[in-house]
Amino acid sequence: MNPVQAGAMLPLLIAWPVFAALAAVALARFGCTRRLFDGFVIVAAGITLAGVALLIAPVLTASRISGSVPFGLGRAEFVADPVGLMFALPAALVWFCSTLYAAAWLRDDPAPVRYQVTSLVLLAANLGVVLAGDLMTLYVCFEVLGLVSLLLVIHDGSRRARRAGVKYFWMSLGGGISLLAGIFLFQALTGSDALETLPPDTGNSTLLWAAFGLLLTGFGVKAGMVPLHVWLPDAHPVAPPPASALLSGVMIKVGAYGIFRCLNVLFMSESGDQWALTAAMGLIVLWIGLITMLVGAILALGQQQAKRLLAWSSVSQMGFVLAGLGAGAYLGADGAMASAGGLLHIVNHGLFKGALFLGMGAVAMRAGTADLDRLGGLWRKMPVTFTAMLVATAGVTGVPLFNGFASKSMIHHGIVQAGEQAGGPLALAEWIFLAASAGTVAYFVKLIAYVFMRRPEHGRVDSVREAPAPMLAAMLLLAVPIVLLGWRPDWLLQGLVEPGLSALMIPVEPIAHFLSRYFLSPGDSWSFALTAFSGGILAAIGMRFGLFRVRAPAWVGVDYWYRAAGLGFIGLCRRLKSAITAVQSPGRVLSAGLGRKIRPLLADDAGRIEHAEDRFFRRLDRVREDVRARAEALALEPSELSAGEDAPEDDRRRLLNAVHWLSGLLVTRMIEHAMSAFAHAADRRELEQWLSACEERTGKLARSSLTMVRSCSESSQIDAAMLERAWRDVLPPLPVAHDAAQPTSARQWADELKALVTHPRHRHWPVTESLDRGRLVSMLRWYLKAMSRDLELGLALVFVMLASAMLLLLLL
């Protein structure tokens, strides 16, 4: 494939998973077998992997291939360069393994189709971000990736998952908006939305720093950068294990990718002021990375849930990546080693964290729990899983000849070099790095020890078996490159990283220097031995004395404050509303003296401004609705529907009709009495109390109307007195004795009701309800009165305004 053809294929490659997802939906709709569906999805992911792999040759010959399709506001531009491929390749590989694994994991899942389709769409979005050629395409793919992956987080639908999902949604939405703002500002600086370096004359301005800060925040949320990491340790563990592998192994890398692009493309410059600017930005990222790695490691040590531990470990490892990228940008022309270390660590982390999450998923599936306190001794039961996880652990802790070793020592050298160059507090950087590395060793010793090694509680893990074959295959497929890259990191370093960095005008000699001088050198191996030793001791002490179970109070975490701020803002909005509706509006305050007439016009909420009579009626009306709804609900209860009748549906409908009518009838009677009592009442407070009692006893009223319906259908006898009794028995006596019963009309209603209950033809509620009509007429009378009064006022206002217009005209 020549570069031009490859460029034309690029958009197709990215769109392919989406088409495959649509096809998968269609397959599932038309009821294909489970096996065929799984096979299709796996093949689709495999084709994507093959497609990305095929890009390597043309990208290396042309160093940059591009293609575009019309989409959205213009064209979606895609560019593949070696750095982009560094991200795309492991993404496609982990995705393929995860899909394979998921096919087995989702055996008993209620929604396998949703999971797999979501996963394919996310694959497309993920490739789209790392292969995007302009900022708009990048943003669109980034947002789709961020928000669609919410479906994976909440996949199991548990309460915990939904809570994590809420947090995830807010963080990624906020990150997305910050990113968008950054992009807008960057556009304002450059005048285009190409993914290119700033023009050299932009100088050092607030605008530029604002753009950088916003972009860093946007990508940082995704990357799990402290203090924006709060969603990660909640969201990653609650997702199904294959999804955790994707979220933790691949998707957070998109954030690192963005930060790399910011530092090495968008805000990079070779000379003058601007170099100092890039260096300052690199220093910020380096510090954030150092803090992130330390915080992540400390909190990972404290976890007793295996998946949470792995999630915190992801935070910490992203700290390593950011430190490498930051040091690389800080060192500028000498920074190739640190940047390459960061990039390599991204690939490595994808592989080992993917394998670890898949392995823990297999353990959790077979042992039924991922709680470290309840596991143990599994290495005999699950030897293959154990091997895969051991290899991944060796990778993550940086054992020589496993993949983490090369990337960590490159980052280490980069940090040392940056520390030497900057001096000051950055001299601490190396110690922070070593502490975080020791912490990494400690929490993985803890993990392996608790899950696989220590003596299990009696009987708990006896029945555990090895995981099914596809899951094992997926884990091993990730474990193999961990060993290969540990042995020959130069394949990746010289194959992709060097051409990638030299395309970005970064001198790449330090990489060759590293490979020849430092790789597997005694010095680096010693520093690993040191961290491993101290990490082992830390783990031993911590586990022995229970240090890992110490918990800080909630307010120490930023999480607490975000939540407090969010809820506080909602509280503020609520308070604003109640303040405004209490005062109605500033205009209302001013007009308070103008009397009652003008108030409704300026009131903020017309529904609230009404006369005492209306208000009283409104409350009674709500009681009516409530009683009716409750009575209907009661009638629908299974015990109420007599079993064994010949036509239960008919019966149910008739009962419902009758209840609907009778409860309305009953309460309307009550309302009539209450309203007339209100009209004659001397003291309305008593009536209000009576009404409150009414509101509390709607359930009883509903029940009594149901009782009446039953007695009616049995004896066919109902009269006004019964109706009266029904509500008077339940409620306290009306404060004003006002006896205006209307037996004739009540009789009429009762007849209608009887017809309704006994006559099978009345299946539906009639169009007009005589009871409601009476209510409607009286209500309309009140409102017409109110309206005529206020309409006149409105018209008067209009005339006043017209007159003032004329006056104004005369004055001018």
Binding site: M136, Y139, L180, F184
Partner: protein, 507 residues
Amino acid sequence: MSGILPNWLLPGLAVALPVTGSLVIFRAGHWKHRMTGLAVTGTVLLVTLALTVIMAVTVADGNRIDLVLFPLLPPWPVAFRVDAMGAVFAMTVAGLFALAMMHAVGYLPDDRRQWRFHGFLLASLGCLIGVALAANLLTLLLFYEVFSLLAYPLIVHERKPEAFNAALKYLVYILSGGALVFTGIVLVQHIAGSGTFVAGGMLPDGASDPALIVAWAALMTGFGVKAALMPLHGWVPDVHPAAPSPFSAVLSGVMVAAGVFAILRVLFEIFGAGLLQRLGVLPWLAAFAGFAVIAGAMRAVAEDDLKRRLAYSTISQMAYVSLAASLASQTALAGALVHIVHHAFFKGGLFLCAGLIIATTGVRRISRMRGLGRRMPWTAGTLTLLALAMIGVPPLSGFTGKWVLGSGMAQAGGYAHLAIILAGSLLAALYLWPVVYRIWQTAEEPGPDCGEIPDRKPRQDNRWMLTAVLATGLITILLGLAPRLPGFPLELAETAARTLLGSPAWK
């Protein structure tokens, strides 16, 4: 449009056809079959929509169609002029009315009163198209006022007491606004001797500043009432929930937008960007609009009634447009116009969803919407989609508007404006996400559940409403994925923005 119809006839027909149709429809209650009446209404709507589309295609490259009817007051004829901005708005109006009418067929009970609703709806469609195509201030006001009066019977159609209350408040607000606009017109007449819209402004530069400022303030306040700019918004949150849902969709989607549209006309075709900058009034508009974006959204957050929440959201979203207008930058203005169109469909769609939910279950309060997702999956899905569009998630239509608007603002140097619209979209998430969360919530968590309330309407009635709802969802996706298709709002909006800022394309 060559051949069948002469161009000048198009605007006249687009206004007259729905008005005439409404007169026929008022009689439809006496016809034998419901379908006859519906077919007539549907035909009128579709033909009107087709006419507006034809007009839009005709003026897309900067042409103009003029039609002067008859003098109303001596120097002021009733006159129509189709330009890109008017055409794109007319098209939106006709499209949204068609969806609302389809929804109304299912929403309203099948009785004689439904024809009243359809009749008034058609008549008000004609008037709103008249607003979109008006060639001078007086014609615009005339059609706007008639529309506002025709809205009264539509708002109180269900004869609920709160609807009467709210409609009364609405009348007073709108008529006072109209009176202020009239004052403004008189002043404009006094200053310039005419009120015909001219791209780039028509007021003479030499006029006295105080007179200009008073005229500006009168017109802005008057149209601000209709556009629901924050201190003048009082009628919106009461009328929207009280009106029948199909009409709430129209009110929110195009009635408020028509106010904003009129503001744009006044700003750029009466005053002109240069004069406004000299007068220094634009920062005032920006301040009010910015306040409306934030405060409207904050009020929306606190509301529990879905329709009330959406009403406040309209206040917030429509203020985006005024905010963009206050920058007088071409890209931002194009973004604002696109936002008007896209907002009409997603907000209209949200109101239609709310209407379908209310008609089926009677649930209006968000806190009681748990379990809707399982009971009405298509409606809930569309509601989610439209909510995401309003938040501005790509690749849905809200994102298109937000992108053009935002990048225009950043390029024009309006960083505070940019911050406000981004905050507005974060707040949009804050008031819409709880709705989405609630409807998809399952029964495990404690709280009221709507799943057990029996259906109020038989299922087949919902088909009309469901189709309308799904159509808004599809439009939202289409406008997001391919806004650059020829004849789509974006192209027209860009032409319009170019024209408005004084480089008329037809010269």
